[in-house]
Symmetry: C2
Subunit: 350 residues, 2 copies
């Protein structure tokens, strides 16, 4: 287990609750003028003047959302932040602050928590956000992380899930399915390791998809790109649970239907290779894999020229009248209904 790797091990019970959060966050910088007061009082104080603020929260639970036998704690801290920032960017907003609450059982050492917070700090630095609050407490089993992210946005720039119109183009950033296939590789190597701890697998061919799983990024760049290109999506969501369920969210909330083209779904060559190796259909992986943290959005057709040359974007379909329904148009040009079979925290306790 990752948390046992440390040479030095300081028991968490040597720290009081308050001293611990102070210790873990004392060197975190504050860089936003909107952060009036960060950690250290009953609450953070923020000042956004004329902007709207967005707030989002996510829970990561050991044994449900992550497995510490292949997820280094630093990566986990990083990912816990990214997952939340992705929701802020999906509102077309700029992420500015987060609060981080952590519950840990006493099998974790101080050094393990420091690793976790090092990952949180790295994400905060790279994405230029202030850590303004938090809470550390004990848990009876395992590690749980709850992050709340806050962002700011001009009122006229907010993009909701419910603004898509028939004939709008459906667009996704980056490529899909990588995080899921990275997880498959990691699960396989864990099993191999359990049987033969001395095996030295060559992970180089899987570097991209493993990074998609272990150290995902959130598409802050896209929010800026929309501004530069003068594009405002009509609806947007981040791809955390698989393309299929995210499309269904947009369609239901916007009251439209959709035609999604299988041959337009962006896949990295590594994903295709891994799918062949694992004998899984790559379209299924892209539709249901989840955790890619790309942005899925719709734009009106008039905006097509603004985005068509940009390698960040793939147009994967278009929205239809609601009575038409939601369909995948396969390579064989048959239409099959879209279903949400995405990762379901309450069904698959994997």
């Amino acid at each position: 287990m990752i948390e046992d790797k440390n040479q030095q091990r300081t028991s968490l019970s040597d720290f009081g609750e308050f001293k611990l959060i102070d210790h873990l966050t004392s060197h975190f910088d504050i860089s936003h003028t909107s952060t009036v007061k960060g950690i250290g009082d009953d609450a953070a104080v923020l000042d956004f003047k004329d902007k709207q603020i967005v707030v989002t929260t996510d829970f990561l639970v050991e044994g449900v959302h992550f497995d510490l036998s292949y997820m280094p704690l630093k990566h986990l801290g990083y990912k816990a932040v990214i997952v939340n920032l992705s929701d802020v960017f999906a509102m077309n907003a700029n992420a500015t602050q987060i609060t981080v609450s952590v519950a840990v059982s006493n099998r974790f050492s101080l050094e393990a928590l420091e690793e976790l917070y090092a990952g949180i700090e790295t994400a905060a630095k790279i994405y230029n956000i202030d850590v303004v609050g938090g809470d550390t407490t004990s848990s009876t089993s395992g590690l749980l992380i709850s992050v709340t992210a806050i962002g700011e946005v001009e009122k006229e720039d907010v993009v909701y899930r419910n603004g898509a119109k028939p004939n709008d183009l459906l667009v996704v950033t980056g490529d899909l399915g990588g995080a899921y296939m990275g997880l498959q590789v990691l699960e396989r190597e864990k099993q191999v390791f359990l049987v033969n701890p001395n095996s030295q697998p060559d992970m180089e061919p899987y570097a991209y998809i493993m990074e998609r799983q272990l150290k995902p990024e959130a598409r802050k760049d896209i929010v800026k790109l929309f501004k530069d290109l003068d594009v405002k999506p009509t609806s947007m969501i981040d791809v955390s649970d698989g393309l299929s369920s995210e499309i269904i969210h947009l369609c239901k909330q916007s009251n439209v239907g959709c035609d999604l083209y299988e041959n337009k779904i962006p896949l990295d060559p590594t994903v295709i290779t891994a799918c062949e190796e694992f004998n899984i259909d790559s379209t299924t992986v892209a539709l249901n894999g989840g955790e890619d943290y790309e942005l899925l959005f719709t734009i009106s057709q008039e905006d097509y020229n603004k985005i068509k040359a940009n390698p960040n974007f793939s147009v994967i379909g278009y929205m239809t009248e609601p009575h038409v329904g939601m369909h995948l148009v396969t390579r064989a040009e048959t239409k099959i209904p879209l279903k949400a079979q995405g990762w379901n925290a309450l069904n698959n306790q994997e």
Copy 2:
């Protein structure tokens, strides 16, 4: 166990993650104009115009912060909200929105979660706050609740922990030690029940202190009262971990010392009676008991006339120069150093 009392039991795995949070919060009203968008998108959207906003977050963990064998789920939901609102009021701010994330193991039924959310809803209604976000996920063991509360305040009204000056009066609202003694009674009755499930104890004499433990209130009324009385405290904190550790927080962050008078500490008669019954010193309980969710603050002496007639307030001491240190002045007029021995989540896994 409370969650097994329900006649009807719907498995949580019948619900997807999204449908579950929709189901649990669909009837929650939105009442604040600052709530532009609540649950249902990637993030809530809030608009506070010229006000400052405060953000605070707290984690409640089964087996650490609560015991479901005597804490009904509805009360727990209520208390999870109160704990966070108390932090908002301790900034002299008005609480306006919360997000609620819940992780549950599969031993909980849908009806159990509905009970929990009924408590959350009740608190939201009574305190007039909007529930604007959340997340439900599975846990590998027990129930965990993470609440983030948001409030608004005029810039000039924010009260931090660090503004106390020597000679300022130290004031506390309400009375102290009740929540801790309520817990002692509940723990005792749990033991009695385990031995003899048919015992019917008379809990009436303990009604007040049990309510202080099971259904605490946050002092929203005090924030309004400060406005009415034209008082702005120089520093403020809520009493969640015991009077002693909260005073130390104010002193350290304000760089002052303090004389706290034992004979001025407000105690309800029920607390005194229970302390005698349990053979515990009532001052120790008030100093270290915690969970009272009263407000502890300092005011300049000039403001004394504004508060002296008000039954909500007890002047319990005054701040001194920092080199004098922090002391309890006992009834016997000896001075003993104040120590933080409050409830410590990481030492006492009770």
